[in-house]
Amino acid sequence: MKVVKMCNKTKLLGVVWVVLWAGVGCLGSQDGPEYLQKTSRMDQNVLHVLASPVLDPRGLTWAKDRLWVIDGKSRLLARVHPESGKMEHTWELSIAGPTAVAWDGSFLRILDAEKQVVYRFDPENGKILDFIQAPRPDIESKWSYGGMAVVDSDLYIAVSAGWCSKIYCMDLETGKIRKDFFPQCDPRGLASDGSRLWILAYNTSKLPAKLNVRDVNQTSKHRFVQDLWVADPTDMVMGDNGLWIVDRQSGRILQLQAQ
């Protein structure tokens, strides 16, 4: 898989376009051209674009200079080189419904949507160490989990549930919910740089996804920072050099400059 590092964006935009066309074709995605074109043209802070190494990318996190991607269907956890996009290692998860993943500094945290728990997972040996209960919204209508992010000893979990959508902040060790707040959007991916929390909002396939950001200590205030032409974003993570976003529909992973 070819990867183009966009150090000179203007010069390389055309190359990216060609490469990604190829990538789209390989993955058999139907949505690509319009979304990719808009992303390439509008998102001047796109640094990097990878083709997802798995077919059903759900969770995405950054650990030890590598991207980690969960495949929802095959329940694979893949370690991916962020520049080459090469899949370096995979674990077959014995988890019913892995949908999100986050790095707590020592271990991976993997959300099981079916059992509604968050496992602590050792990426060195592939073993599950323990788990905490995931938050369960008290509603009878449709809802689903979004992404996860760790800030210090807190685990943030997004729940997408219409006007009941919430971001839960939990004690990483005990699972106790410390607070929750309304994200003012349909949350999919969560990411943090330690002081700010980014939320990637799904906005239907007709409208660009919205990236909004807020201070983790003042969660009622937020601002929209960017529109992203990704049709079905599933997760997001803050890496060493920006935000990484995974789009399930196009099968792409984008690296953005965090603003």
Binding site: W163, C164, F181, L207, K210
Partner: protein, 692 residues
Amino acid sequence: MRIQSGKKVALLLAVLAGLQIATAEEAIAQEKVAVLISTGNTTSDDTYYHSEYWYDLMLMYRMLIENGFTHDNIHVLYGNGSDFASTHTYYQNPYASAMTDYAVSRTNIQNIFNWLAVGNAAQGISAMTSNDFLFVWWMGHGSGGAACNTTFDVMGIPSQAVTDTELAAWTAPIAHDKRAFVFMTCHSGGAMDNLQDVVTVSMPSCTCAQSSYSDSYDVVHGEWTYLVAAALRKMLPDTTGVTSDADGNLLVSLQETFNWASSQPMGSTPQLSDLGAIAPCVFLKSKLPGDDIEIYSRDHGFDDGTVPSNYSTWFHGPDLWVRHFNDGIPVHLDPEFGQTNYVYGNVHNIGCGTAGNISVEFSWVQQSGWNNPAAWNPIATANIPLLPSLASTSVVVPWSTVPVPGTYCMHTRLNTAGDLENAYGEAYRDNNKVQINVEVKDTWAGAGWMHFFFVENASKKPTSVDLAFELRFVPKDAQISLELPPEIRFEKVIGAEISKNPDGWTVLHFVPSQKRVMVFGVPLASMEKHRVFMTTVLPPTSNTKQWLEVMFTEQVRGRTKGGIRIVRRAGKPEQVVCQVLSTKMHVFDAVAERFGLDEARYVAKLAAKLVESRECRNMDAFREIMGEISKLECALGEFMQKISPRHARRYLRACKDLDAAVTKGDPGDILEKQQKLTTITSLVLAEDILKD
């Protein structure tokens, strides 16, 4: 027209005593007040679960304005206190001033409800009364649990949140007749039990255990707000109509709103709380939604009881009509002079209670008295013992005192305890009154037909009136002419050729190919009025289904103030002859009786002879007797000069024309001239009667 209960008895007694009263419409304020609470601040267009704070607010605001709420009575709490500048034109504030009154906060929410309870002069807010209607819409996030207790988020700040019990406590002191709550939040079904009573309707977007959702429509909207607004507006934002008015009474009740909106695809299950079963009779568009007694009859086909009804053709109320026989057919026929006609009225009760002992009074008046109830001549009064909520019924009375042929106005006046007519004579200003303009005539077809009507300024100020004639259907070769007296001046005429008749009257000959004939700039002083004559001639080749239709309206600065629909239909010649003779019989009989003229009596007798024997169907017999009748009529010319110098020349000229037609022997020509002469005689008679 609703009145305060304490004054009902006195007003009813006054009416029963036959007193001319001014009802309490102006004296007792009846308000419908809305509070729109949108608990977030939109900063970005086209963003799910965010832009709806503004988009939904716009929809609800538009809906309320369209349903007769005033800007002053819509209190908006939104975001940081400023309108959002959307890039979507439809969601930009179209009004002259800001829509948002206050930033949304716990304090401001409590304040607005408190001010509506006790008033706040500094804020320009009056305390609501027990006559008023309150509408509350709440939009945003909500939380809840198994106990069905709902907490409404405000701006995402936990300390600002409002619980359902707090909302109930804050709104409880507000006086109201009825009230309605619409919620577009998660878990909002949990608020129903806190708010419910027999005068409250609540419509939350979901059960207490559900979330609520948005969807992509024209833009993103909270599903429930979008659908409720669509139901109450009877259309989507793109103006596509929706069928929320299930019973077709032109009004959308809260029950119909719920039924239609909740049947649309949604992610949640909307709820309805209506302990008093009032939702079917609460219409936001009504002057007072959910009023106990509200009866009305329609001023026009699209009249839903709103006061004032719109001005377009309000003077042809479909709920008042005349038939020549008591056949119940709901199609108006202009009254037949000299026989018993039947007057029908429809009455609707759109109130929440049963209306009892409804008085339905029918009357007629000369055209000039159209807005002066004191001048109206009673025909008869019908009584409706009971009319349940949301029911309609019809009444009929015989009318045997039809005035002589001419143009008149008829009225219905409705009165019942709890809803009395007001003092206005203009039917569009009172939904308890209906007016139709009628021509008392015999059905005429064939050759020429002349009639008269008034051009007038019924307002209190001098004004320039435009006379508009819409030629709705005019067959090729038909002729229409209008004679304007010398007193009527005008600035410009389009669509007609102008000439003068021997009396100095202006004659406008309509060009049939025109869609519209206009007489612009007729200066009229207050209450000034003049009779004008219109003559219509259907083509000689017309078959019995041929007709001609002209809509005449008086307009001031483009706004219709009154008018008449003129329809002429061709009939079989023998029928026409008999009908014209029948008219002549009645008119001259009346002339003979009033003035003691033997010639007139003999004219009536000759006409009667032919009509009663049906010999009028025999053209030879008709021609022969016309010779005698025309001589007698012309012999009355001298008398006409005495009692009506203004119309005598016209009478004598018509007589001369008739004489020539009789000599020529053409039945159609004789009919035309005979009808013209009869019309002038009717006019002389009518004007003389007015002197009494």
